[in-house]
Amino acid sequence: MQEEPFEPNLVGFLCTWCSYTGADFAGTARMTYAPNVKIIRVMCSGRVDPQFVLKAFREGADGVLISGCHPGDCHYKEGNYRTLRRYRLLIRVLEQMGIEPARLRLEWVSAAEGARFQRVCNEFTEQIRALGPLSLNGGKHEQHQA
């Protein structure tokens, strides 16, 4: 039997005010783009607890996208700056854990930038396709069965 080609499983956390609206815009404008990103709407990119990102990887995501308003445009003023700081620190930790930093992507997409959202999804999907699947192993297999 032929092996199924790898299809990246991606999770995207989008802030409701800009990026989610931008994604919606891409949809209503009937732009076509890679369907790999499973979108989770959050109030602000600053709501994305690093635990969410780790959990997504743990549960099988090959890549995680966080997308918010452009700097200066966050509905809550500085949520996206927090996101930026967390992102820079988190990719360092991910690297130490053996997860390629490219698997976590941060983008600013405004409500009007449907085309940008389209491009981000396509690019990210291809980037992760090239990286291959993320296999996380908690080591559980080592314990012998009781």
Partner: protein, 326 residues
């Protein structure tokens, strides 16, 4: 009379011995404990053997206090045996609760650990390159050693755990109140961590000196600064795990002018202590400029090892990806 006393067992897995010490350190109170219970197994102090435990009826031990993480097949077998024989299992100390310091081995695997420990440390003298083998033949006999795992586990990743006594090692008052609750039958719901569910900052004497707006411009390690003994460590640019760590330790490190390293693990609301600290800490970096953020982030020498110092095995990711170690 002695057979009506509740039976208690103590056992150690991958640990440093400090948790055993924490029981001895109960000093005269240990005598009260010893008078109230029947200690049926305690390898560090009493000469009972595994076969003695095997001979006990299932569920006949009231409580087993198990310290240390689980990282080899013998430890796994022993804790499974104790689980069968015990009505209550208490994970005693950080290693058992969270994986602890031995859990930092989850940045490597068995092979890299063996190579380092048995072959390449500067103090190693091992010209024949002998490393432990599961089976080896000596004078016609076959000798067996436990299998060493690539991954270190917290106790609850191996067996069902009823209670957690946090700390490296757990402080005396928490151990004593755990014993008291056990004897009086006043233990909280199963799964509880036997320490207050609030953050270390809430109990910290230095909390008042924490400025309204903390701003980190550069991260320093404790030995690089002359630390003010009164002021919040974060305000001095030194990483303190207090905001993401459970209270109850009695500020042993902080009163010795050392920042909290997180040995009590997270509060009930938090699943992943390291990620939670990362989140809080990143928020107080004093810039919005991407390049400057990166510069500050680079001043943290070992973020994953620092944020997960005691909790790597029990974190969401549990370990460095094996594929990336091999």
């Amino acid at each position: 009379m002695s057979n009506t006393k509740p039976k208690v067992a103590f056992y150690w897995c991958a640990s440093c011995g400090g948790c055993e010490e924490s029981i001895i350190d109960l000093a005269e109170d240990i005598l009260k404990v010893a008078a109230a219970v029947d200690i049926v197994f305690w390898p560090v102090a009493l000469d009972f053997k595994r076969k003695d435990v095997e001979a006990m009826e299932d569920g006949s031990i009231a409580a087993s206090f198990i310290n240390g993480a689980v990282r080899n097949s013998e430890q796994e077998d022993m804790v499974k045996l104790l689980r069968r024989k015990s009505r209550i299992v208490v994970a005693h100390g950080s290693c058992s609760h969270l994986g602890g310091i031995p859990g930092l081995a989850n940045f490597w695997d068995k092979e890299t650990i063996f190579r380092r420990a048995y072959l390449t440390t500067p103090s190693t003298d091992n010209p024949q390159g002998v490393v432990p083998l599961e089976k080896s033949a000596v004078d016609g006999c076959e000798l067996e050693l436990p299998r060493f795992y690539d991954t270190v586990f917290s106790l609850d990743q191996v067996i069902d755990v009823d209670y957690y006594l946090p700390g490296c090692a757990p402080p005396r008052d928490l151990i004593l109140s755990a014993f008291q609750a056990l004897l009086e039958g006043t233990l909280p719901p199963k799964g509880s961590v036997l320490s207050p569910n609030k953050s270390e900052c809430d109990e910290c004497d230095r909390n008042d000196t924490k400025p309204e707006k903390l701003e980190i411009k550069e991260v320093k390690r404790p030995w690089e600064v002359h630390l003010d003994p009164e002021v919040c460590f974060l305000a001095q640019g030194v990483i303190c795990m207090g905001p993401a760590t459970r209270a109850g330790c009695g500020q042993r490190c902080i009163s010795a002018n050392m920042p909290c390293r997180g040995c009590f693990g997270p509060t009930d609301q938090v699943y992943d202590q390291g990620a939670k600290f990362l989140s809080a800490f990143a928020s107080i970096l004093a810039t919005d400029d991407e390049k400057e953020i990166e510069n500050i982030v680079q001043t943290i020498v070992d973020p994953a090892g620092t944020f997960y110092r005691f909790s790597l095995p029990s974190s969401i990711l549990r370990r460095k990806r094996l594929e990336a170690v091999k």
